[in-house]
């Protein structure tokens, strides 16, 4: 029944791609002539961009950012220079578009994807929100025109009118459909598209969390997966998948995402990723250290041993990753195994950078042993 409703909605969407009175952009040139009310919306979006920039929320990785931008330009060459992709230093599984063409991709979502085709599927979707002026459409459709008479509109208003918190189901379906077409047109393998949604659906279920923002108002993930599978069922081409470049650029991002997850106490997410061999294979071996941290944080029966095993694996598979030695030193010191504790603290000091935060502790503990 749910599927029938979904298909009915999709056919409705395909019949009315733009709302009456709101014309979509056809190329970058169109963005030069905006309706006065639209200009206000763009102004808000620019303010939002500045806030994100000023408050240090941009993840600084010029190579990865350039790669995301290049992928976007491949999908929408006619909008080159108008759609700007940035990486947001947040582990939430989210990506969002602002009405002025700024697109933010969280490191949390980037680290969960497996290749360029999957990246392109999300970028393709987000760009449609900009091109089809979905923020503007929602304002018009909610008859919220009074808001335009206010010169300074709070960011929360903008957030509710951008894909940060998701659009209506019809607009999300439109973005899915048009994004999919672009994916195929740009030469990507569309059979990859459903995989990212499947991956995230697994995560949402395993963690017992509410669907993250990216999906909050979207059609249910399961319907979406089925629809993407249906769309790509007859695809016979040999589209680009692009695993190698993608995964080499994501190495540090994945490690930082794991570290940030631990830093925010999202240990369940780390355990989910690092205990699943299909997911773990995309992560650097130092990820085992964060698995150890995650078990230490969870602190259930048997977790102390699981943490110790994970740290040992980290030593074996990522022998130059210094934080593991510090943790092992501390563990052995607490269990009064002085010789092992000394060994690990010494190893830590020999490997850790001179300005590493924990050096002081390691020196102090070595002295006391």
């Amino acid at each position: 029944m749910r599927k029938i409703l979904y298909l009915a909605m999709l056919s409705f969407v395909s019949g009315c791609s733009t709302m009456e009175g709101v014309t979509s952009f056809t190329s970058a040139r169109d963005t030069g002539s905006l309706h006065e009310n639209e200009r206000r919306l763009w102004h808000e979006a620019a303010e939002f961009d500045s806030t994100i920039e000023r408050s240090d929320q941009i993840y600084k990785d010029s190579k990865a950012t350039a790669y995301l931008q290049k992928t976007m330009d491949k999908l929408y060459p006619e909008f080159k220079g108008k759609i700007n992709v940035r990486i947001n230093n947040s582990t939430e599984l989210n990506a969002f578009a602002l009405p002025n063409g700024s697109i933010y991709f969280n490191i949390g979502l980037l680290s969960r994807m497996e290749n360029e085709a999957q990246l392109a599927a999300i970028l393709g979707h987000e760009a449609v929100h900009f091109i089809e002026k979905h923020s503007f459409q929602e304002r018009v459709s909610t008859k919220n025109m009074a808001a335009f008479s206010v010169s300074s509109i709070p960011f929360s208003t903008l957030a509710s009118m951008s894909s940060i918190s998701g659009f209506s189901q019809e607009l999300e379906l439109e973005a899915d459909k048009m994004g999919y077409e672009r994916l195929v047109k740009a030469g990507y393998d569309p059979r990859e598209a459903h995989k990212i949604f499947q991956h995230l659906a697994d995560e949402v279920e395993a963690l017992g969390i509410e669907e993250p923002y990216f999906f909050s108002s979207h059609p249910a993930l399961v319907d979406r997966i089925e629809e993407f599978k249906r769309l790509s069922a007859n695809y016979k081409g040999k589209g680009r998948i692009g695993s190698k470049t993608y995964n080499s650029l994501m190495t540090q991002i994945r490690l930082d995402a794991l570290r940030n997850d631990i830093g925010r106490d999202r240990f369940k997410s780390v355990i989910l990723v690092m205990e699943d061999s299909k997911k773990r294979k995309y992560y650097p071996a130092a990820g085992y250290f964060y698995l150890g941290e995650a078990y230490s944080r969870r602190d259930e029966n048997g977790d102390a041993n699981k943490a110790l095993n994970a740290y040992k694996k980290a030593v074996k598979k990522a022998p130059k990753f210094s934080p593991t030695y510090m943790r092992l030193g501390m563990q052995y010191m607490k269990s009064n195994d002085k010789s092992k504790a000394k060994y690990y603290f010494k190893r830590y000091l020999s490997l850790a950078p001179r300005d590493a935060g924990d050096r002081g502790y390691a020196k102090q503990y070595l002295k006391s042993l």
Binding site: R54, S55, T91, G263, R297, M330, D358, Y361
Partner: protein, 219 residues
């Protein structure tokens, strides 16, 4: 119903919930501030709360819960410009947002990690950065000294320095928070003097108080 309302109002007026945030200017007569569990010397000509706060609301999984604590705030120009907070949390709710207890056996770096996670989760400041994390001593106990920083929405750098330690009576922090621009450096030395003056008192070893039943009505 009327009786219940009167009772609630009376309870609020006579208890911690309506604790008036009265501030007093410190001078050489009242520079040493004593709470139940600790004492410290507050910089002269700064203002401090007249009585420590004894509980707070903490949002856990979207719901407000009341938590016992002992907290003292001092400032010179106003809490937004610079503030020093001295807080004792009881072992069972040492890190309430991340639902972790404190144990006397925890090492300072472990405590520091939990503390940062608690701050990030509670404030929503995923971008809070740890600049340094070094060993320290507070009141003769092994402690951490964390220097953290974040930029607010206007791009202003806010720096936080926290000293913290755990023992069997709970988790103690002494934190200084100020905009890096002008205020941080100006008042930092006064903060370190306050840290040096910190002493734990015998009262710390008394059993923790109970949260009054009426307070739970509002949580």
């Amino acid at each position: 119903m009327k009786k219940l309302l009167i009772l609630i109002t009376l309870a609020l007026l006579t208890s911690g919930c309506m604790q008036p945030k009265k501030w007093t200017l410190t001078d050489d007569m009242n520079g040493v501030v004593k709470s139940k569990s600790f004492q410290m010397t507050v910089p002269e000509r700064w203002v401090r709360l007249t009585t420590p706060l004894t509980w707070e609301y903490v949002e856990i999984d979207g719901e407000n819960q009341s938590m016992l604590l002992e907290a003292m705030t001092v400032t010179r120009d106003g809490a937004d410009l610079q503030s020093i907070n001295v807080i004792r949390r009881y072992p069972d709710n040492a890190f309430p947002t991340i639902k972790k207890k404190s144990r006397a056996s925890m090492l300072p770096p472990e405590v520091a990690d939990l503390y940062v996670s608690e701050l990030r989760k509670r404030s929503g400041l995923e971008r809070l950065k740890v600049l340094t994390n070094k060993p320290a001593k507070v009141g003769g106990k092994d402690a951490f000294r964390l220097v953290m920083q974040y930029k607010n929405d206007d791009g202003l750098r806010i720096r936080i320095v926290s000293y913290g330690f755990v023992d069997k009576t709970g988790f103690y922090t002494i934190s200084y928070r100020a905009p890096y621009l002008y205020y941080y450096n100006r008042d930092y030395k006064r903060f370190t003097k306050l840290v040096d003056s910190f002493r734990q008192l015998k009262g710390a070893h008394e059993p923790p108080p109970q949260i009054p039943g009426w307070m739970k009505i509002f949580t």
